[in-house]
């Protein structure tokens, strides 16, 4: 279990589908060989098919009994081919013929851009930006027979050890979001790294930094001062995608409910929604109704001259409001982890496995955490609050899923502060053979 968990919130009411985040990520991370079709960040139109084609209908994640339910492996055709052009031609090249891809496109990211749905005279769609969800219970991690995938204890970021990976692609089948890609040239699988090298330098993720719509909020979920903590745990207006898949994603979305449907003046959003509620429930679970009700109330309050803290936060005018990147806190957690492991090491020396992150030590990242046992690890109080799961602490009555708040803590937003420190059972005695 991670000591901290970096998380991201995206306000879907503000996304304009400009793909600047997509290009920021592409330019930063996936312009190498064999990575042509990789979009660690992609933005797709919904209702829609998605990227890869039909990812949200083919399976992945866990079933109700916590067994993996892997999907078939998406064929390359469901990603399409990256466009290449006759670059020497440049624009029209003096000929009356526009520059076109050399091969006729058959599928691309956002293939069905702006198609959406149609209800009588009301066309509707919204954009869904997607990155790896850096899940609390990553199905990819559990599926990897080589334990090449690990979740960093210091910040919860899920990474693939490129030295361990042998390209078996069980992870791709297991991921319900299909956010892992196979690189043919290297023979290994690759995925979003939540820009951890940037975070370690105090910089926010490239996709967030470049977002013109300022839709993204980044911080530690367990940091009461972080915007993601406030949006997910305090105001509870951000939800994970497909919660029934059982992986507990750490990327959250403020569901799209604005603007109201044309001609619906005087009606509530739930009474006359622009987007079919069924589809939003399909994506975000039934809690989306509560969120929309709450947000409509906040809108009404603000429109009546009142103050809405959550709307002020969601406007996110300044970077300082949207991001709270705390490399010192994460580094201290990593150092505590190292110290703890050194104490536990029979030889008294530092186990090679936990010498820290590349930025700190120059060695490869800590190897895979326990793959099979992670689903049995009790969640920290903070994470338990986030996901509404029971906390293994009789002194606490935290239960955000029922709306009962946190009666056992001094402050609703700092539940963990009055309970015993972050636990990390399951790490002791772990092997990564």
């Amino acid at each position: 279990m991670s000591k901290h968990q970096y998380a991201m919130v995206m306000d879907l009411n503000k996304c304009i589908g400009c793909q600047t985040c997509t290009l920021a990520c592409k330019k930063q991370w996936t312009d190498g060989d064999g990575m042509d079709y990789m979009y660690w960040n992609n933005v797709e139109t919904h209702p829609g098919i998605g990227y890869p084609r039909g990812w949200h209908t083919i399976g992945g994640g866990f079933d109700a009994r916590r067994n993996l339910r892997p999907s078939p492996l998406p064929p390359k055709e469901d990603y399409g081919e990256a466009f290449e052009y006759d670059y020497g031609q440049r624009l029209y090249g003096g000929r009356n013929k526009p520059v076109m891809p050399n091969r006729p496109p058959t599928y691309t990211p956002n293939w069905d851009e702006d198609v959406g749905g149609w209800d009588k005279d009301n066309p509707y769609f919204f954009y869904l930006p997607r990155i790896c969800n850096h899940c609390t219970h990553p199905a990819c991690l559990e599926a990897c027979p080589r334990k090449a995938i690990y979740k960093r204890t210091e910040d919860g970021i899920v990474l693939i050890d490129q030295e361990r990976c042998r390209g078996f692609r069980y992870c791709i089948k297991a991921c319900p979001y299909k956010k892992i890609y196979y690189n043919e040239v290297t023979g290994k699988s690759e995925k979003c790294i939540f820009c951890y090298p940037r975070l370690e330098k105090g910089q926010v993720n490239a996709c967030a930094a470049q977002c013109p719509g300022r839709i993204r909020f980044v911080g530690l979920l367990d940091d009461p001062e972080s915007p993601v903590h406030k949006l997910v745990l305090k105001y509870r207006v951000a939800l994970g995608l497909f919660p029934e898949k059982g992986t507990h994603p750490n990327v959250f979305y403020v569901p799209p409910f604005n603007p109201p449907k044309a001609g619906s003046a005087g009606k509530s959003i739930l009474e006359d929604p622009r987007l079919p509620l069924d589809y939003l429930i399909y994506l975000f679970g039934p809690d989306v109704v509560r969120v929309i009700q709450f947000m409509e109330g906040e809108l009404t309050k603000a429109q009546s001259g009142g103050q809405s803290e959550v709307l002020q936060l969601l406007i996110g005018r300044d970077a300082s409001v949207r991001y709270r990147v705390v490399p010192d806190v994460v580094r201290a957690a990593a150092n505590r982890d190292v110290a703890q492991k050194m104490e536990q090491s029979p030889a008294g020396g530092p186990p090679q496995a936990i010498l820290g992150t590349p930025a700190q030590s120059g060695v490869k990242p800590p190897p895979a955490r326990h793959a099979l046992g992670s689903k049995h690890v009790p969640p920290t109080p903070e994470v338990a609050m986030a996901f509404g799961v029971p906390v293994d602490n009789p002194a606490s009555s935290c239960n955000t899923s029922t709306g009962a708040g946190c009666a056992g803590c001094a402050a609703q937003t700092a539940c963990g502060a009055t309970q015993k420190g972050p636990r990390h059972q399951g790490e002791e005695g772990m092997t990564w053979t």
Partner: protein
């Protein structure tokens, strides 16, 4: 009833004795004969058409299949392939294997492709083209500790007290030496493996040189059929054999 008990006791006794002491015929069946190599180099023997192979008896190795890992894995279609194995032993105790098996569909590692119709400039030198395919592959597993073994290593990539070397060939990529001491512990070793592979009609033929394979060293074989999405532990495997 007494008769039945007697029959049952005899059956158990017979099974127990058979398990404890395999008869000579069974033991012989698990030995792969090797021939002394003529005076030619290993490099020449790696040519599957080299005349030296014509006189070497072919031994049939039969395979079983590991159980599928996931419900979405390719179902076991009951196919149980076999391969012919020929072995030539050099005076140095280096051994050259020549194996041949039938596989109507040849799947090779997709290792990216440069689109030829994109002019001089490319954004990507290589595109990924077939991300859902898996290559055919073949492997010989031998204990790291060569020579006769009273106890064979675990079939699941050996164990801590009995590690293994894996001489691995992957179609379209080539040869690789891996070490392992248990399931999911395989690690590549930077050591050149001498071998060759060719595809003729429906057959793969692979030759591979294994250094210092002293007599009675156990060996076992594994086959991956890419057409059936085989990879990792999803494969065909043989019993342990001893090379004469």
């Amino acid at each position: 009833m007494d008769l039945m008990r007697a029959i049952l006791a005899m059956a158990i006794l017979g099974f127990a004795s058979a398990a404890a002491e395999p008869n000579a015929e069974d033991k012989a069946a698990l030995e792969i004969p090797s021939e002394a190599a003529p005076e030619v180099s290993i490099e020449e023997l790696l040519d599957a058409d080299n005349a030296a192979w014509r006189a070497v008896p072919a031994f049939a190795v039969h395979f079983n299949r590991t159980p599928p890992v996931y419900a979405t894995d390719t179902k076991d279609d009951g196919d149980r392939p076999s391969m012919t194995v020929q072995v030539l032993r050099l005076p140095s105790n280096d051994v050259v294997f020549r194996v041949q098996w039938q596989d109507p569909t040849a799947e090779q590692v997709a290792s990216g492709a440069r689109f030829p119709d994109s002019g001089e400039d490319h954004i990507y030198k290589s595109h990924s083209t077939a991300t859902d395919t898996f290559p055919d592959a073949f492997c010989i597993m031998v204990p790291k500790q060569r020579g006769q073994h009273l106890s064979y290593p675990s079939m699941m990539m050996g164990e801590g007290s009995n590690p293994v070397d894996l001489y691995y060939w992957k179609a379209g990529k080539g040869f690789e030496l891996l070490n392992a001491h248990g399931r999911a512990t395989t690690a590549a070793v930077a050591e050149e493996i001498r071998g060759s592979a060719r595809r003729v009609a429906d057959d793969w033929t692979v030759t591979m040189a294994l250094p210092n394979l002293t007599s009675q060293t156990p060996v076992c074989f594994a086959l991956w059929n890419g057409d059936k999405d085989h990879r990792d532990g999803l494969k065909y495997f043989s019993l342990w054999y001893e090379v004469e």
